[in-house]
Subunit: 337 residues, 2 copies
């Protein structure tokens, strides 16, 4: 995928913090690629980037408008299309991770053709994904798994990449969702892959490697989420993980989108994930727990991490707030540096 940077990040009319998670992910992990944010007057959110219109952004060097928002149903609304056409007319390419495709919107296709700009649909899987074969392959792989969707798997994985590289280890983030793909510049939009090809898609995005380095694979969903556990299962099998990191949001009250489903326990989640992972890698081990403590006081967060570490016998941290050192230490002690 060749999306030209730097980016202008779109917030539009959004007033939903979760809805702008793709724009925020880019602002957090690829800030050097982001020249500004575009938002309407009624948008109360900000990524603390300079606010810009489209012509200003072009003047500031922006090459692509990233529609890093998700409104209800992942649809392209009329507002969004109007803004994207204006961006194209000002000289920007447009990239989107929404379910609805830019290429299916005639107004965008027309504008892009007229102005010689590109449209990037990040959620289009490549056409040559194979059926998974489960054959053992070289290299070390770490996969983040979770009690639920949206509990911090991508953040944990990206923080591990930074932390392992800081120790001089070879480590590469492998993206499996649209935000991760935009951050990494490549990957597979796993939720858009045809069901028969889930594990094959992961074998393809994280192929054998023999340089002694790690692939750090972004997890998706949860084995305990009734809507998406099939994706999580195929991801575990395709990843053949040597190491699992369990991710959890301690203040989540029920499974995302399903008030009638409680979250599973951490121990139960870990055991289920290890059992599924053993099919393709019998030697898989858990190496840590990552908590998203952004809604807790620092003191409460530290206490919870200590208690969780005691309970599970694994290092536990908030990777974004407290760093990944304890987990990297465990990786090194289990697998070497």
């Amino acid at each position: 995928m060749m999306i030209a940077g730097p980016y202008l990040l779109y917030l539009g009319h959004s007033d939903d913090e979760v809805g702008i998670k793709t724009s925020r992910g880019l602002a957090v992990f690829r800030r050097e690629l982001c020249v500004g944010e575009f938002r309407h007057h009624d948008c109360p959110l900000t990524l603390s980037l300079p606010r810009m219109g489209f012509p200003e952004a072009v003047t500031a060097g922006a090459k692509t408008l990233v529609l890093g928002i998700a409104n209800a149903g992942g649809m392209l609304g009329a507002d969004l299309v109007r803004d994207a056409v204006a961006a194209i007319e000002a000289g920007l390419d447009v990239a989107s991770g929404l379910h609805n495709r830019l290429r299916d919107e005639p107004a965008l296709v027309d504008a892009a053709a007229r102005h010689g700009r590109k449209l990037h649909d990040v959620r289009d899987p490549r056409p040559d994904i194979p059926i998974g074969n489960g054959k053992p392959r070289a290299g070390k792989r770490l996969l983040t798994v979770g009690t639920d969707c949206s509990v911090g798997k991508m953040y944990a994985t990206l923080c591990l990449e930074t932390g392992m590289r800081a120790r001089g280890m070879r480590a590469d983030f492998r993206a499996t969702g649209q935000t991760g793909i935009l951050i990494a510049g490549g990957g597979v939009p796993l939720d858009a892959v045809i069901a028969d090809f889930i594990s094959g898609a992961i074998e393809q995005v994280s192929p054998a490697r023999d340089d002694g380095g790690w692939d750090l694979i972004e997890g998706q969903g949860s084995l305990f989420h009734p809507s998406f556990a099939g994706v999580s299962t195929g991801l575990l099998h395709g990843a053949q993980p040597d190491a699992l990191v369990l991710c959890h949001d301690p203040v989540r009250e029920h499974m995302r989108g399903l008030p009638h489903y409680q979250l599973p326990g951490l121990k139960q989640t870990l055991e289920a994930n290890l059992a599924v992972a053993r099919l393709t890698n019998p030697a898989v081990q858990a190496v840590g727990v990552a908590l998203n403590t952004s809604k807790m006081t620092r003191e409460a967060a530290e206490r919870l991490c200590a208690d969780t570490a005691d309970e599970l016998g694994l290092p536990c941290t908030d990777p974004f707030a407290m760093g990944v050192e304890p987990i990297v230490d465990r990786v090194v002690s289990c697998f070497g540096a």
Copy 2:
């Protein structure tokens, strides 16, 4: 899906018994809908139906040529296209369950337009599949699960439909694969659904029912098949099964297509499936084991069924060769008639 019967079943040049399983499934379970078979001189296989060319089939009343074969990769080869064009010119519609779509083959689209015939791609999922919600729904559901792919789940499910109806029970087969869909006249091609929608597709194809009857849902893949376990997981969650029937092929030497993977044990398979199923229906029970004993002597088959029943504490039978009575007895004793 409105595919006009009766059918002419296509064998073409096939010399692979497994490759003609869709044609054979129709010949076995919907023989009254099949007027004949089409095969070339080099085809050593037969369904014991009258052999016919296309004009003869039309004269005999056939309305649709069913391309019930699967060659390597599910492709439409040049031979197949040539034959299908000839069938259209003779006055037949064409139906296919292959991965490659009839509608993507210009020669077929042209011929169908010229002659006013229809092309049916059975592997096209409907466009309005929802995300699964896991909400408990009314009705009783039985799901077949397996140690591997292609171990007799569809046959067992269809035989259960016949056996339960013979007892005066309401019972309806719910198809999840192309052969089952052609047999039932509807269903969902689960392996062609987008990964995020696997469980939702099953909730849609087997909705709440309040007539006291059973939905008998055709299983797919295996939790222990590294290529397809994601499909099996989402299917278990979407089905919310009250009852599981475990299917197995006793002479299978390794997981289908994967010589480096051994088959799991029956007890292990059952326990894993019950554990996954409990997420959406904590009351799920196993009600029987179905063995495909077609490659064994009757005596060896009966001994194996008796031994398996003892070992697992469940009724065990070959549904196709010996009937489903013991399993239906168990269903009645667990859930009433």
